[in-house]
């Protein structure tokens, strides 16, 4: 009796395996893994977990969230690039890791190692300053002040914003002192105490929108920021760069079309889901969008090209002497 049960089990398991390979459109037939390139508890992680909950309902299979922090999301992408899971493992991350990462450092992945299933959120990074600064809280004010005061200080967090500020300094003829700092938690004290004149902020400023302790000078998104409509965008301020961040879902490049389409469908539905919209727009304060694979791929490719051109103009990655 026992033996027959066991053999039935094995037989049906074998059948199940055979069926999955035969019918790809059944995807997904087993639990999926959503990789986050940042630690548990951060804003990317929280958003990813809500997204996983929503996707679970859309796809009808459990979606497990795995954190692989390190190198600003680079560790997770390095591992994803060599993943052969056919879409069962996918990553949620920010576009900077893909567009500027491979330019700034030697990475084991390139932009065309992945397929970008969809973009689901627009980043809201910005140039920010503190209260009661001599130049007020406008971008023109700052530029004027910095021209007159060589040694105006700027706190950088990422290689990308460092390149952008070097470019701006070159355009405007500024002599800035650029200070490195780590993350929003490192930047905030420098700005609040007035030790630094202005800084890059990925999203920390959203928390001070109400108190006005961290005014935004310049939006680094494609348009003006939702919470700070007074600050101009890069284009408006006269700089021909689009450093807009997109939070994207990606899979390795050899994932079958059918699987990518199924994931994209589920993601499109997720961007309509109340829970995902609430956590993103009301808590993290970033707008939810749905950008198709084509759109995202095109935007990211263009960004990479423009960064490359910028780097050539600047004569290499800032800081490295080559």
């Amino acid at each position: 009796m026992k033996k027959t049960l066991l053999s039935t089990a094995i037989l049906s398991a074998a059948l199940a395996v055979g069926m999955t390979t035969a019918q790809a459109d059944d995807f997904p037939t087993k639990p999926l893994t959503l990789v986050v390139g940042f630690g548990a508890g951060g804003s990317t992680d929280i958003q990813a977990r809500v997204l996983a909950n929503v996707l679970e309902e859309e796809l009808g299979q459990p979606v497990n969230v795995v954190n692989q922090p390190g190198a600003g999301g680079g560790v997770a992408l390095t591992r994803l690039a060599s993943n052969r899971d056919e879409g069962y493992t996918f990553a949620f991350g920010t576009s900077m890791t893909i567009t500027y990462g491979p330019l700034a450092t030697e990475t084991a992945y390139q932009i065309d190692d992945f397929r970008y299933v969809a973009g689901v959120t627009l980043g809201q990074s910005a140039m920010v300053t503190g209260e009661d600064r001599p130049f007020g809280d406008t971008w023109e004010g700052l530029i004027e002040y910095a021209r007159e005061n060589p040694g105006t200080t700027y706190a950088t967090q990422t290689a990308l914003d460092r390149m952008i500020i070097e470019y701006i300094a070159q355009q405007e003829g500024l002599d800035l002192r650029i200070v490195p700092t780590s993350g929003g938690a490192g930047m905030a004290p420098l700005i609040l105490s007035g030790d630094v004149d202005f800084a890059y902020s990925g999203g920390t400023h959203s928390g001070y929108a109400e108190t006005g302790e961290m005014p935004v000078l310049l939006s680094l998104a494609e348009d003006r920021l939702v919470a700070f409509p007074d600050a101009p965008s890069m284009q408006e301020a006269g700089y021909d760069i689009n450093p807009a961040e997109i939070r994207v879902v990606m899979v390795p490049k050899d994932t079958p079309d059918a699987h990518v389409e199924r994931l994209a469908e589920a993601l499109e539905a997720a961007t309509q889901d109340e829970r995902f919209i609430e956590i993103t727009e009301e808590r993290i304060l970033m707008p939810v969008v749905y950008l198709s694979e084509e759109d995202v791929t095109q935007t990211l490719t263009e960004q990479t090209e423009s960064y490359k051109a910028l780097l050539e103009e600047l004569g290499g990655v800032p800081g490295e002497d080559e």
């Binding site: 497990n64 969230v65 795995v66 800081g319 490295e320 002497d321």
Partner: protein, 155 residues
Amino acid sequence: MMPDTQMLRKNVWSGLGVTLITCWLLVWLIPRYGGSGMAFGMHPQRLATLGAWVMLVCAVTLTLISFIQLRKQQTPLFASPSFAVIWHQFWPFLYVLFFIGLAIYLPLTWLAPFIVGALVMLLGERRWYVVALVAAVPTLALYLLTVHLMRIGVV
């Protein structure tokens, strides 16, 4: 109070070892892989080089002081431990490395009963139910933790 001979011997040899490693760091590794670039504040290699010099000075001093004291005691500089002793200290490392190698290809949860069970047996446990229990409980716990509590699947 005289520092005991064995410790002095250890100091001499470990000091010598650290000296050699530090020289290699200073001459080859740090200049080559320590990073380059124009920095306004500090050169990328500055702190690593500083650390290496601290090590070098300390290691050389340690070697000399211990060497002189060892000479004073007129004891031999070298006491070679028997092969059996070295092997006994060495095999646990090989054991763990072997399983890490396997973990590249297999999930750790599958290996778990063997990692624990085999070592328990190697350490002289012969009661089969103890071995089985000790091997099964951590495996089960890991499975519950990863699959049901953390929900990251079998690792």
